[in-house]
């Protein structure tokens, strides 16, 4: 029983050490990063109604991919931000596929465009929520 009672004390005493090991990898909240994620999400939401216009969406796919690359470069420049960068690089593969399809194909289905923009919107929403929770 005495040994058990010591456990919380050891845990508390070790917290500072554990924190010093862990905190280096949690970047604080960055408004610029949050704005870029929100911009990308908004573009995906607003352009869904134009999915029937392939020529127009070709430009939008480039715009979305460009925004995604800008976000990757911005987030990568923030120290101790590897967890967020990992998620944003995953998002890059989605936006890159969208752009590549419009570059390589003269016809792209409306359903593909709508599904893809929904996935981009939902994925950015997940990242946005995690970034919003960062320590200030």
């Amino acid at each position: 029983m005495k040994k058990l009672a010591l456990i919380p004390l050891i845990l508390l005493a070790g917290c500072t050490t554990i924190k010093s090991l862990m905190s280096w990898d949690v970047a604080p909240f960055d408004g610029g990063e949050y704005d870029r994620i929100n911009h990308l999400r908004s573009t995906a939401v607003l352009e869904q109604s134009h999915c029937g216009d392939v020529a127009y969406m070709r430009g939008v796919s480039k715009e979305i991919y460009d925004q995604s690359i800008e976000l990757t470069l911005y987030s990568s420049s923030i120290p101790h931000n590897s967890d967020t960068v990992k998620m944003i690089k995953d998002l890059d593969t989605i936006t890159n596929g969208f752009y590549e399809r419009y570059v390589k194909n003269s016809t792209v289905s409306t359903a593909y465009c709508q599904d893809k923009l929904t996935i981009i919107e939902n994925t950015t929403a997940i990242i946005q929520a995690a970034v919003a929770n960062k320590p200030r």
Binding site: L12, D90, I119, A129, A130
Partner: protein
Amino acid sequence: MNCTDIVNQLAGVLQSPSTVAAQIAASATQATQQLKAGQLTQDEYKEIIGDLQTQQLVNIEAQFLVVKEELDQLFNLISQATSIFPL
């Protein structure tokens, strides 16, 4: 496995307690039905399903980050408490 089998399997995941997992399953079901109806090509369908897997991966990574953020806040509180009441 045909489209009907896929839709049946996804129906099980739709009952998942995780909102994101259920949403991903709903999107996969919709894409499978669009393929069946000829609204999506095979190639487009493959890409959409791959993207949904990536979305699930991002969801797991985001949950991990949120746990780290909460631990960070917890350790800050403990640090403040131990500075007031040194062990």
